[in-house]
């Protein structure tokens, strides 16, 4: 059951949330949109195609200190901030849900995530969207509150206790709407059976598509950085000149880099870019599915939008599927 909220009342909802949380929302930049900290509701872009970086920018920051060495004493750094996302699309909300599958027992991730509020909002799918193919177009409890556009107003759906609290506020309702399932429905440019394709990756390991695409690939790592589910990280020890002061940081890494699969002694499991490029897909659509039942891709399309080399993940997948 959902409750209606008038568009002009969204500000009240936002202000309520701001009292308790550091609010992160989509904001228009010159030619694109970014997720950033927002103090005033007027800065929020309610209608946007996609943001450059996904919510992971705030959930597991690019470079995150995990412990500090201070005068010879070790101090664990557990994040204490309370973050609220305001206005995430369904794909990004579900990406958080899939990150939960991997990181729920990670103390740094959990500390942020448990205190977090996620407010989703309707989207207008764009040309690069394929969330239906990845099953990420359906509302799940990764979202506390979802705002579905309905003419001039929105209908709020709560999925958690935090969401229900907000939904009980006076700026929602009294009108209610009965809906069994909240989902984003549209015609995808290319619908893919990603589960079937994922199974084929290992069976057809030397498919020419890897070689072809790797030739175009710059290994710039942009696709993995903008991916809401590429979570691989490196751990680096930094010392600040003097030997008893420093920190250990967790920093985003990318499996497209030569250094990624290099181990002590210098052996490298994925020397060729072809193998590294294939690894992105093997992990997303085969091994992750085997482990967690869903692909580690939500079809947000960022890897397509932000690839300077014009590589389209959907095309690679469909060639692999033999379509």
């Amino acid at each position: 059951m959902g409750k209606k909220i008038k568009k002009e009342n969204l500000k009240k909802l936002f202000d309520d949330i701001s009292k308790e949380y550091r609010v992160i929302a989509p904001v228009k930049r010159k030619d694109d949109y970014v997720l950033m900290e927002v103090k005033d509701f007027s800065e929020v872009a309610l209608d946007y195609p996609t943001t450059v970086l996904p919510p992971k920018k705030f959930i597991m920051p690019y470079k995150e200190p995990i412990f500090a060495l201070d005068g010879g004493e070790f101090k664990e750094i557990i994040p204490e901030e309370k973050i609220a996302f305001f206005g995430l699309h369904m794909c990004d909300v579900n990406a958080i849900g899939r990150l939960d599958l991997v990181f729920w027992n990670d103390p740094y991730y959990k500390a942020r995530r448990e205190k977090m509020l996620v407010v989703g909002i309707s989207c207008k799918p764009i040309e690069t969207c394929f969330c239906k193919s990845t099953g990420a177009n359906v509302l799940t409890n990764a979202c506390d509150l979802f705002l579905k556009a309905d003419g001039d107003s929105y209908v709020g759906f709560s999925m958690t206790e935090k969401g229900r609290k907000l939904l009980s506020q006076l700026y929602f309702g009294p009108e209610t709407v009965d809906v069994k399932e909240v989902k984003i429905d549209y015609d995808e440019k290319l619908h893919l059976d990603v589960y079937a394709i994922g199974k084929k990756i290992l069976e057809d390991y030397n498919n020419p598509v890897w070689e072809e695409t790797a030739k175009k690939c710059l290994a710039c790592t942009n696709c993995t950085l903008v991916c809401p589910l590429c979570y691989c990280f490196d751990v680096i020890d930094e010392t600040f000149v003097v030997p008893n002061e420093g920190q250990r940081v967790r920093c985003w890494d990318s499996c497209l880099l030569l250094s990624f699969a290099r181990v002590a002694g210098g052996h490298n499991f994925r020397k060729d870019l072809k193998a590294r490029y294939r690894n992105v897909y093997t992990h997303k659509f085969k091994t992750f599915v085997d482990e967690f039942g869903v692909p580690s891709c939500v079809g947000c399309g960022r890897c397509i939008t932000f690839c300077p080399a014009d590589i389209d993940m959907r095309e690679t997948l469909s060639k692999l599927g033999g379509a």
Partner: protein, 251 residues
């Protein structure tokens, strides 16, 4: 006894030395080492045997050629400081020109009095133990190398392209805007100050390990002229491997 450190400068702008002075940990560095030779930073300098010598700048005169050999003989470790030392730097653009004409263009009738050699990167002249790249270097790299040396570790190379510094900040992609950018093949760790300020990466830190040069050049040819591509790679690290070939016209 504190390690004895020297910082020498050859033909350059001294910008990298300024970056060292800019380091927020300079007091810690000063507390940990003895600068026995640092012309830009102190008044009294002397020759000694150095534990570490940093050499900034390009070798352009025979005097500098002799000097770097002498520094090598006096030092346990030699570290090339900045892209002039590592890759010839801006001065090495003249390597792609007629040297006599370039001299006349710059010095006019005094050209005859000027000595200028073909500019080789420092590691081609003497043994260099590590390179701190960049035009200029970033203070963090200097701090990292000094920290590692203090801790008895081999300094770690950056293995990420400038794109990673850039996109992790959420910057718009220069290549997607149709601007020729060296980011994908450029050695990162700089924090991508150029694309963050809205201008493309010039690859001042030289090439990344395993750069996808063929794919990068294919892409650049679609958005830039051959001359522009050559200029891009000839700018700050003209004598770096790969960049040298592109700058020389091998596209």
């Amino acid at each position: 006894m504190k390690p004895k450190v020297a910082i020498f400068d050859l033909t350059d702008c001294e910008g990298c030395e300024v970056q060292i002075v800019n380091s927020k940990f300079i007091d810690r560095v000063l507390g940990g080492v003895e600068f026995v030779h640092f012309r830009l930073g102190q008044r009294v300098n002397r020759w000694d045997n150095f534990d570490v010598a940093f050499i900034e700048g390009a070798v352009i005169t025979s005097h500098e050629l002799e000097l770097v050999k002498k520094i090598r003989e006096h030092s346990k470790l030699v570290i090339a400081l900045g892209s002039c030392a590592c890759f010839g730097g801006i001065a090495a653009i003249t390597n792609f020109m007629d040297r006599e004409e370039a001299k006349k263009y710059v010095y006019g009738e005094n050209a005859d009095k000027i000595e200028t050699l073909y500019i080789k990167p420092l590691p081609e002249i003497i043994k260099v133990d590590f390179m701190i790249r960049g035009c200029p270097i970033v203070p963090e790299d200097f701090e990292r190398v000094v920290s590692d040396l203090f801790a008895g570790r081999i300094p770690r190379e950056h293995t990420r392209p400038v794109c990673m510094d850039c996109k992790s900040k959420g910057n718009p992609c220069q290549l997607l805007k149709g601007v020729a950018c060296a980011g994908p093949v450029a050695y990162g760790g700089c924090g991508a100050p150029c694309p963050s300020a809205g201008v493309p990466c010039d690859g001042c830190r030289g090439p990344l390990e395993d750069p996808q040069t063929t794919a990068e050049l294919e892409l650049l040819k679609k958005i830039a002229s051959k001359d522009d591509i050559i200029r891009l790679f000839r700018k700050f690290a003209p004598m770096a491997p790969i960049f040298k070939e592109i700058g020389g016209g091998k596209l």
